[in-house]
């Protein structure tokens, strides 16, 4: 069992915890505007990034976040690891455990992989995306982005549009926005929504794109073709685009568009919307760094008492 508190799903946090992390991210945001962007906060700590599924944004921002906090960081990618030789996840973790890491940041193609990791390490585990499961740090950076760029979350209306079925971004995002008091509507082809989603996550579900009209934020989900196989979830991408694409003809002034990336221009979202400076897509990508710094800080600062005398743990010491 993990001795430190892990972040595997949004439900591992409460409203106070989310508020604390977003507040810390805000302060790291100020640090990032300085000439020297590095703080000694996590000096002597070890972060292992274990990325067993492709990633650009998440892996880069986690690696950079650990480095900016002065932690020692090792990043391990799926290809070329001992798991290619048939080693199980459990044995990989036990081996890496010998280096006494403080945090494992894990991306894995299967739901629940982080729970397996947590069972075999005393380090904290951060879920950086587990298959179709959850992606809690994405949800935190989405909250942070909305809070910074628009308004406090409470009372906002957020519409998630598209492939919810395969989306860990949506699963974590819906939970997080709901927890912080937003109203959430899901708009998607009925074939791309889990049958009991509304009941499970407390959302409205609609098959009509016009139901985004009332939303303050329109969160566009990527069509996850790599997870669809030959299932034929929609008749064609072209029809999907005609019926569900988020483009300027379907948006009204003042609505802000989000997308976790990578985008499929011309399918779930028009190129023009992607390039529109009023969208939050770039801000999301940029905010990943400070939010992930805040997550690592929050996780390791809790163990300060367990590791007295570690210099520079206090944020103010920066």
């Amino acid at each position: 069992m993990s001795a430190r508190s892990s972040l595997i799903r949004v439900g591992d946090l409460d409203v106070d915890g989310i508020g604390r992390i977003l507040g810390t991210a805000e302060r790291f945001g100020e640090v990032m505007e300085r000439d020297i962007k590095k703080v000694p906060t996590l000096r002597g700590r070890t972060v292992i990034n274990l990325f067993l599924e492709p990633s650009t944004r998440t892996s880069t921002s986690f690696e950079l976040a650990a480095k900016r906090l002065s932690a020692d960081v090792v990043s391990i990618r799926g290809a070329g690891t001992s798991m290619d030789k048939g080693e199980t996840l459990k044995d990989t973790i036990r081996t890496l455990e010998a280096y006494d890491p403080d945090v494992f940041v894990v991306r894995h193609p299967q739901v629940g992989a982080c729970d397996v990791v947590a069972r075999h390490t005393s380090a904290a585990v951060v879920n950086a995306g587990d298959g179709t499961g959850e992606h809690p740090t994405q949800a935190l950076l989405d909250l942070y982005t909305v809070q910074r760029e628009i308004a406090p979350i409470e009372g906002l209306h957020v519409a998630f549009v598209g492939d919810v079925l395969h989306s860990r971004v949506a699963r974590s995002g819906i939970s997080a926005f709901r927890m912080m008091g937003a109203k959430v509507t899901v708009v998607a082809p009925p074939t791309l929504v889990p049958r009991y989603l509304g009941e499970a996550l407390g959302t409205e579900v609609s098959a009509d794109i016009r139901d985004i009209a009332d939303a303050d934020v329109v969160y566009v989900l990527r069509m996850q073709l790599e997870r669809m196989g030959t299932g034929g979830f929609v008749p064609s991408l072209e029809e999907y685009a005609r019926m569900y694409q988020v483009n300027h003809s379907r948006l009204r002034t003042g609505q802000r568009v989000m997308h976790a990336g990578p985008v499929n221009r011309g399918f779930e979202i028009s190129g023009k919307v992607v390039d529109d400076p009023s969208t939050l897509i770039e801000a999301q990508a940029g905010n990943g760094l400070v939010v992930r710094m805040a997550v690592l800080y929050d996780m390791l600062s809790e163990s300060q008492t367990a590791a007295p005398g570690v210099p520079g743990v206090k944020l103010e010491a920066a």
Partner: protein, 442 residues
């Protein structure tokens, strides 16, 4: 329930052993099918019930119940090919420890049990190793591939107990129809794991609120129900008999109820884990792979439907789907862990706790569903406590409570869904095939 037609050709070998000679003194003797319910002594001499008690070992039966031994028509003994998970000796020892006096083993082995020669070698091994009488259910199609029928007639002649493609259901309706037609020639019951794999897709747990919340791919209830509807229609059309394995969903119960009402020869079983647990545990437990099996644990509405159907007779009997897997394989993330849980040793305690202690049925009703009914459906010898019968019985202590997992398992595997649960009603002694096969250590 269909009319009892004994299958005179089925072979249920057991290893040689000394015959039981014992008097169980002052117990409640309960055999509802034979109309027996009395307090007193049960004598077993030379493996047969009744006779002269002189010189026999005396077991104090005060506070204990003697019931006909359980019959489990759905187990996996993992032999040949997966003996690291279970073998005939350990699987049947597990049966004995659970008060089970006859097991029928499924064919999803490596290679699959799909020819008279493989069946023959298994029957020979069981005759050397099986702790309780053990029968085998060969595949319906060669290699469980769903194309070419196995030699149903030769398999029946060689002693097969029934036929099943088990976890790889016959997808092609025309192949299933031919198998049902051929039943008139081979006279073997089909026992069917019902699942439309095109609907199950990549699913790994019940499609419900929990799967939507945690993001695991769901297996919809209708993937079971539509296949049951298909096979009930085919069975009705061809005048064939079918038995439905491990019913899990309310929709399936409704299909079976309708089929029975219009006279289809269909019977059905339910497992202890589907009677006791729901998909809630998959969402709540940090190590949920121990609750992964197929069909999956479903919702609380489904569970209630199963219990009601077991009470009203829509579901005829209980079978465990005892499915051993090595611990290493269950330690994978949920989607990668194998389907299946063990169940032979805890079946009686689990069902007694849920159904009898829970006030849903009395002990006699449970005995019918765990012993008499499954034996009758498959045409097996029906365990009975009547004078002159071979001793196939269990002695149970209805007050004894165990925490599952605290006693070592007789099975080679430990993948129990009930681990950590307090279950009341423990098997203290089992006589099977006239042999003294299990005594519980205090």
């Amino acid at each position: 329930m269909s009319i009892y037609v004994p299958n005179s050709r089925v072979r249920l070998p057991q290893r040689p052993g000394t015959l039981a000679n014992v008097v169980i003194r002052g117990a409640r003797i309960l055999d509802p099918a034979a109309g027996i319910d009395r307090e007193g002594d049960l004598i077993v001499r030379d493996g047969v019930i009744g006779g002269d008690p002189d010189g026999l070992e005396v077991v104090d039966g005060t506070g204990l119940n003697v019931i006909p031994g359980l019959v489990d028509v759905h187990v996996h003994l993992r032999t040949p090919g997966k003996e690291h998970a279970e073998d005939i000796a350990t699987g049947t020892a597990s049966a004995a420890a659970g008060g089970v006096v006859t097991v029928l083993a499924m064919p999803n082995t490596q290679p699959p049990t799909d020819s008279p020669s493989i069946l023959g070698s298994l029957l020979d091994r069981a005759a050397r190793e099986a702790v309780v009488p053990t029968g085998f259910i060969p595949a319906i199609t060669v290699g469980q591939m769903g194309d070419q029928l196995t030699e149903h007639g030769d398999l029946a002649e060689a002693g097969a107990a029934a036929l099943s493609d088990d976890g790889v259901p016959v997808a092609n309706a025309s192949v299933m129809r031919r198998a049902l037609q051929y039943q008139k020639a081979a006279d073997l019951l089909f026992t069917l794991h019902e699942e439309d794999m095109s609907l199950s897709g990549t699913g790994v747990m019940h499609e419900g609120v929990i799967s939507a919340r945690i993001g695991l791919a769901g297996i919809p209830s209708v993937s079971e129900a539509v296949q049951v509807a298909r096979d009930c229609s085919l069975a009705a059309y061809e005048g064939a008999r079918i038995h439905i394995c491990h019913v899990s969903a309310r929709e399936t119960v409704e299909e079976i109820r309708l089929a029975k009402a219009r006279g289809v020869s269909v019977t059905a079983e339910v497992t202890p884990h589907h009677l006791l647990l729901t998909d809630q545990v998959v969402g709540d437990d940090p190590d949920p792979a121990k609750f992964k099996m197929n069909p999956p644990l479903r919702g609380s509405d489904d569970r209630e439907a199963l219990i009601e159907a077991l009470i009203d007779g829509t579901l005829d009997c209980i079978a465990t789907d005892h499915a051993p897997h090595p611990a290493d394989e269950k330690e994978n993330p949920f989607a990668a862990a194998p389907f299946g849980v063990i169940g032979l040793e805890t079946a009686f305690a689990a069902c007694h706790t849920e159904l009898v202690v829970g006030g849903r049925m009395d002990l006699a009703d449970l005995v019918l569903r765990m012993s008499t009914n499954p034996a009758r459906i498959f045409g097996l010898p029906v365990p009975t406590l009547a004078e002159g019968a071979r001793a196939d019985l269990a002695v149970v202590d209805l007050a004894a409570t165990d925490v599952v997992g605290e006693r070592p398992y007789a099975s080679k595997s430990t993948n129990a869904a009930f681990v950590g649960m307090q279950l009341t009603g423990q098997v203290v002694m089992t006589l099977a095939g006239g042999q003294d096969v299990y005594r519980r250590n205090a």
